[in-house]
């Protein structure tokens, strides 16, 4: 039930994000319809550095009564349409799974690039982009309680003390992400962004007599499947290196 609500909440967050972002994109397009000049292309164009944070993680962690989770994001424009991009995050989440309740705590770093596919009019700086990341996470999973599989329920099968209620430390995960997203300049130098991520797990250290059901940054790991998904919803500030015309 709680899991279902969590999913529902994520879905709502998404719909809201989408509606909001696209409204802003279209309203800006209308505003500048008359302007028909385009930016000139240059090969190297180190123009701006954007730094910001993800809004969804603090919301999720506070509504779940977890310790604060956060993600700091940044990207550096290197050519007209190419950006170096990175995210650093710290997650502490209590997960109530089918049979096992556990805490997943760890940090992750994602590094890669974004390629803007959106042609801006002069003076505008929105983007619809695709990107790639290489990501790595160092984390621990602490088993809090679990229900032992048994066809007999005469005795309680809940285990909340001792046995496998242990902390699996020093775990690592490495994966790649295919990113797609939008960034919209809502106020001067302030951008709202949303990105969706398809993750492919490359390797992870398996704890003994348990499994990595969740990896901070990668999110849910499913049985017999190395694919995962994620999203973020960012607010970034752009530090311009050159004055915009």
């Amino acid at each position: 039930m709680i899991q279902f609500l969590m999913k529902k909440k994520q879905i709502y967050l998404f719909i809201i994000s989408f509606v909001f972002s696209f409204n802003t994109v279209f309203s800006q397009v209308e505003d500048t319809e008359s302007d028909s000049l385009r930016k000139q292309n240059k090969i190297l164009n180190i123009n701006k550095l954007r730094i910001g944070f993800d809004l969804s993680n603090p919301i999720i962690s506070s509504s779940n009564d977890d310790n604060l989770s956060y993600e700091i994001v940044g990207d550096l424009q290197i050519t007209d349409n190419l950006y170096l991009a990175a995210e650093f995050g710290s997650i502490d989440r209590f997960i109530e799974d089918e049979n096992i309740n556990f805490n997943s705590v760890g940090d992750y770093l994602k590094i890669g690039f974004d390629l803007n596919m959106f042609n801006n009019w002069v003076g505008m700086d929105n983007s619809i982009y695709i990107g790639l990341r290489y990501a790595s996470s160092k984390f621990l999973n602490r088993v809090d309680s679990y229900t032992v599989r048994s066809s007999d329920t005469y005795f309680s099968n809940l285990v909340d003390n001792g046995y496998e209620n242990i902390t699996h430390n020093n775990l690592n995960g490495n994966w790649v992400e295919i990113v797609t997203g939008v960034k919209v300049e809502t106020f001067k130098n302030i951008y709202f962004g949303i990105s969706l991520r398809l993750n492919k797990l490359l390797s992870d250290t398996k704890p003994s007599n348990f499994d990595n059901l969740f990896i901070p940054g990668f999110n849910k790991v499913t049985d017999d499947n190395t694919w995962g998904s994620g999203f973020n919803y960012t607010l970034t500030y752009s530090i311009p290196f050159k004055k915009r015309k």
């Binding site: 879905i11 089918e98 049979n99 096992i100 229900t147 005469y154 285990v159 007599n209 999203f231």
Partner: protein, 143 residues
């Protein structure tokens, strides 16, 4: 897109036929001649629980052990007398996967014994101490 991804997640249902927690198998033998004989129990009750397992009649009694303890105690009623058997066991939990979680295996310890109440049970002996399946008889109750 996320909605679709969530919708396509593998069902979190433990496949039927996956390993499961096994029960202890108890056999009954005649104390005098050590021949296997059937028994008729009026009731079986786990110590600490209010609910009673229905009566039993036959040769091999299969009962669950406590997965969150190293001791399971059962009170057996036979011919209107009660006797308590203390089964001491090592409880080992084994992880299967996300959808099935953990199962429990047990190893019966040698200090498994009867608490003499009225004494219809004369002796308890261990035949196969490890419970990894339900095919073998684990302990014998002599009466």
């Amino acid at each position: 897109m996320l909605t679709i991804t969530i919708g396509c997640e593998k069902d979190d249902i433990c496949i039927e036929g996956s390993e499961n927690t096994n029960r202890i198998t108890i056999g009954f033998i005649d104390y005098e001649n050590k021949n296997e004989i059937g028994i008729s129990l009026n009731s079986i009750k786990g110590v600490g629980l209010d609910s009673i397992i229905e009566g039993f009649s036959g040769n091999n009694l299969k009962l669950p052990l406590m997965v969150n303890s190293n001791r399971t105690q059962y009170i057996f009623e036979h011919n209107e007398t009660l006797d308590t058997v203390n089964i001491h066991h090592k409880t080992i939990h084994k992880y299967l996967n996300r959808s099935c979680g953990f199962i429990s295996n047990f190893i019966i310890k040698s200090d498994t014994e009867i608490s003499k109440n009225h004494g219809w049970i004369r002796e308890v002996s261990i035949l196969n101490d490890s419970i990894f399946n339900e095919e073998k008889t684990n302990i014998l109750i002599h009466y």
